[in-house]
């Protein structure tokens, strides 16, 4: 099972960290709907902990931009707009392009092997039509490159950015794959990494991100909104199979 947390807060066993991991997991795998309101007590109830660790985890995610806070102090999953996607696109092109360039200069043999492996597994999943593992493997491929850059602060920033685009990429991924000409680009990226060609690696990475997020931006409606927003709230869920939206234990 691939680890979701890529940073060094791995060995943190605090409840707060576990709640953080759970929420992050739920967010990137699309168990929260964009625009959905998330209350502290709801999360605490689902995860079976008190408010304290939930507050700290949620506040951290708000600080990272994964959730947003209304002026009236309620937390919700951010809605995506065309402008926001384009801003994220340009930022990600810079930072992930930089990471690719650094990776070209610093990647070790086992690291490039790992990158190659991820690229292969993307193809396998894609030919199978398994878009869930496809997406997961694309993530692994990218972060294998970023890890090879050996820049901890940069990695942390990139993770934060993925957290913001994550829920929507998940939502829109099936559509996106069909329009993709990814494999060739990834091969060129790998070649650049192994040749130590930083400029080429950066260029390939930038192109990949530009293509993906420009596509997402193109899905906006006339108001600039993306993915209509199911403004589901989490409260009053008296129905039998209660919380199908966000089921997860702390463990």
């Amino acid at each position: 099972m691939p680890r979701t947390a890529t940073t060094l807060d791995a060995a943190d066993t605090s409840l707060r960290q576990q709640v953080y991991n759970s929420l992050r997991e739920a967010l990137t795998s699309g168990r929260f709907a964009p625009g959905q309101k998330v209350t502290f007590r709801y999360v605490a109830g689902v995860l079976g902990v008190s408010l304290t660790p939930v507050r700290e985890a949620l506040r951290r995610l708000v600080a990272e931009g994964a959730f947003e806070m209304n002026p009236n102090r309620s937390v919700r999953v951010p809605l995506m707009t065309r402008d926001k996607v384009l801003e994220l696109r340009d930022i990600r092109m810079e930072l992930e392009g930089l990471a690719a360039a650094k990776a070209a200069l610093a990647a070790t043999r086992p690291q490039t092997a790992e990158i190659r492996r991820a690229a292969r597994e993307i193809l396998v999943a894609r030919t199978r039509g398994d878009s869930a593992t496809d997406r997961q493997k694309v993530r692994e491929f990218h972060f294998a490159v970023y890890a090879a850059a050996a820049q901890p602060t940069l990695l942390r920033l990139i993770e934060g950015l993925w957290l913001q685009t994550g829920p929507y990429m998940n939502l829109l991924y099936p559509d996106f794959i069909s329009s993709s000409r990814g494999p060739a680009g990834r091969q060129r990226l790998i070649a650049a990494l192994e040749a130590g060609d930083a400029a080429a690696a950066r260029r390939e990475m930038e192109n990949d991100i530009r293509r993906a997020l420009s596509y997402v931006a193109g899905l906006a409606d006339e108001n600039g909104n993306i993915a209509p927003a199911v403004p589901a709230t989490t409260r009053k869920r008296r129905s039998p199979a209660a919380s199908a939206v966000f089921e997860l234990q702390v463990n």
Copy 2:
């Protein structure tokens, strides 16, 4: 009095936010020594609040990289190393270069006027030898440019990066000014902004950051450490003029 918080969480009156602002203020104005340990109860005591808001504020700052957390769960001001400075330099060149480029395309007349004003005030402070306001005005100049870019997520990221370099820039600023040839670069940047020349604006911004942080990196000792680290701890401060390190009220 210039506002420290540039983002939109301005109207937040919660204690947590006030503690966050206080800590941030104290950090950027150098009232914490690099490597200094910061305990929750100490901060709570100084600011006269309970642990709850202090925990949330400090955790957010840890998430932003302004403080760091030991494996043994204690919070301290990060020590700076050459590698970290160089990493921050490259990241900042990308992001602040991007912001300058966007500003060249989007800046309004009043915004460029504000930028010009800040540039003038830097010169005034510098001829006076007033390095404190000098540094403050440099900050205002930069953030006036970034604000003109009108990219909220980008602005937030840049603020986080300044928070990480902040304490050290403060510490090292007097040395730095003497070696500076800043004014000409700023004039060229302003010209590029007013001409709508995004590439030139980016280039000038990148050069400015490269020069500043390369200089800081050059101050590292043979172990790669910067600014010897006064490993002062905050506890057991029974001496009369007790906490001169971090004096501040909440409001």
